[in-house]
């Protein structure tokens, strides 16, 4: 049965079939559509025309696309920096806490982590609601009178800020719990000897903790970059990329073009360019993190 049997191939057949129809075929189709003239008319009638790199040329020549790219970079940078810094802080905190408090904090993090994205997004709309939202109430009570009845979702920067808070809140649990698991593997003797040598807290962190966990940090940064750059449901539900396009990142842009404007060709091109941009950014990031 071990050799030259058909069994293994029969066992992987469902996987191969699923992958071929639902993954490989759509990927080829995505590439093809991005090279065609494919809009509402072609969707109904069929017979899309091949236009080469026309869609990509149209995108790269337009100012809007580059604006969206820059916004996506800013969105990713702000979120990932906040997530990594806060996760590190919480992980270092977890290591130092006594058992009871540590378990309580870890349970809270797990709870936030498990909350479904759309549920959390709906809750944040309620938290930041203008008249009855608890955030405006708290800010006004603290003396920031201008926040009384403030409409967060009418202003681009404010909506952007709310989305950042939402995404950071959702992402820190994963980062903190993973880094905490990593921290517990560092032998205590290393810290002791660093202290004996007179290292301050900061020095110990930069010279001992960070080098020991370099690969874990590289992994977390990579995962968060992917997660944040591709983040779609939160933005779409909260602002649909508005107001005035202020929160339109690349995935939202691709979705809008395809679904609202019925420019399937251009939408596909944006989505594929996003994949390429992400791949380039990740390879560069990983190489630098591992080497330095």
């Amino acid at each position: 049965m071990r050799n030259r049997s058909l069994w293994p191939y029969l066992l992987i057949a469902p996987t191969v079939a699923g992958g071929a129809f639902l993954l490989l075929y759509p990927m080829l189709k995505a590439a093809l559509i991005s090279l065609q003239h494919f809009r509402m008319g072609e969707l109904i009638r069929g017979g899309a025309e091949f236009v080469g790199l026309g869609n990509y040329a149209e995108l790269l020549a337009g100012a809007e696309f580059w604006q969206v790219v820059l916004r996506t970079l800013a969105w990713t940078a702000v979120n990932v920096v906040l997530i990594v810094v806060l996760s590190t802080g919480v992980a270092l905190m977890l290591v130092r806490l006594r058992r009871g408090m540590r378990l309580a904090l870890m349970s809270a993090l797990a709870l936030a982590w498990a909350t479904p994205v759309i549920a959390a997004t709906t809750v944040f709309q309620w938290l930041f609601q203008s008249e009855l939202g608890v955030v405006n109430w708290a800010l006004a009570s603290l003396g920031f009178e201008s926040f009384r009845g403030y409409t967060w979702f009418a202003d681009g920067a404010a909506t952007f800020a709310v989305l950042v808070i939402l995404v950071v809140w959702q992402s820190v649990p994963f980062g903190a719990l993973t880094l905490y698991a990593g921290l517990t593997t560092i032998p205590g003797e290393l810290y002791e000897s660093a202290r004996i040598d007179g290292g301050t807290g900061w020095q110990v962190f930069w010279r001992v903790t960070l080098p020991m966990l370099r690969q874990l940090f590289a992994l977390i940064v990579a995962l968060e970059v992917i997660w944040v750059a591709k983040c779609f449901p939160q933005i779409w539900v909260l602002s649909q990329g508005g107001p005035d396009g202020a929160t339109t990142t690349l995935p939202v842009y691709a979705f809008k073009i395809a679904r609202v404007l019925h420019r399937y060709d251009l939408g596909s091109a944006v989505a594929l360019l996003t994949v390429v941009l992400l791949a380039v950014a990740l390879v560069a990031n990983l190489r630098r993190m591992v080497r330095s």
């Binding site: 066992l11 993954l23 759509p26 498990a114 944040f124 009855l132 989505a271």
Partner: protein
């Protein structure tokens, strides 16, 4: 003094982490006049179930609930079965192309699903699978499948082959040996992977938006919840009750499975 500051900071982080979830449940149980009060109360003084009644009686609630559950459960079970077959072939058999297959599965884990929204929509339209739960289930199955194979492969590889061989020596066929000996040991692995699949499918938002277009009663809970303004207007109590009902299965499953996963069930099964 240091410990005090540390605990205070930890408490602040804890409150900030838990507050949105707490606020969701609290609002869902608050009477409407408390929700609309100028000064919000942070404790349930007179809990009520009226918002849950409103949410549950909203048009289509049970349909969306059933759709979500159906799509999620079928996708997860299908992925488990298909992945188990593939993982068995990869860990227990030698065959040509095995290495290539494993590499493909690893690569498929990083598939850019966001870029496949348009082609999947067009393929569904061409095959007349738009507005069908079957297509949606298929997509969720495929999103979770690579991860499921990779994890199950890890769990299977950790179960010593000697256990099966011992059963076979005792007269079991290979299939029976697998079912009686390996399958029970695999339970934690199956649960761990199904948790991931469940969360993914239960939460999925982009594909259901693209694939379910005309038939409103084929939508799932995330889409329904995202359009809460059309359903509940400014009734935040009912909106939070609906969000709570949507979040609850995920939260419960997470807490339930977290304890069970990762138990070393094979520990001590084979003497070294």
């Amino acid at each position: 003094m240091r410990r005090l500051a540390l605990n205070a900071a930890a408490l602040a982080v804890l409150v900030m982490t838990i507050f949105p979830v707490y606020w969701m449940f609290l609002t869902a149980f608050k009477p409407t006049r408390d929700i609309q009060a100028r000064t919000p109360s942070f404790w349930p003084s007179a809990p009520t179930l009226e918002h849950f009644v409103t949410a549950v009686n909203a048009p289509g609630f049970w349909t969306y609930w059933r759709n979500s559950l159906l799509v999620t459960v079928v996708a997860v079970l299908l992925a488990l079965v298909v992945a188990l077959l593939a993982a068995f072939a990869v860990t227990r058999m030698r065959w040509r192309g095995r290495g290539a297959f494993v590499v493909m599965v690893f690569a498929a884990q990083m598939a850019p699903w966001e870029a496949l929204l348009v082609p999947v929509f067009i393929i569904a339209r061409d095959t007349e699978l738009l507005d069908s739960l079957a297509m949606l289930t298929g997509v969720y199955f495929m999103i979770t499948l690579p991860f499921t194979i990779v994890t199950l492969r890890g769990f299977l590889a950790a179960i010593p082959l000697e256990l099966e061989e011992a059963a076979q020596v005792d007269g079991c066929s290979r299939l029976v040996a697998f079912r009686r000996v390996v399958f029970p040991l695999l339970a934690p692995g199956l649960m761990a992977t199904s948790l991931f699949g469940f969360i993914t499918a239960w939460n999925e938002f982009a594909f259901v938006n693209v694939l379910i277009i005309k038939e409103q009663d084929r939508r799932t809970l995330p889409v329904w919840l995202s359009s809460f303004r059309d359903v509940f207007g400014t009734d935040w109590g009912a909106t939070m009750a609906a969000a709570s009902l949507f979040a609850l299965p995920a939260l419960l499953l997470f807490l339930f499975l977290q304890r069970r996963v990762g138990v070393g069930m094979t520990a001590g099964a084979v003497k070294g």
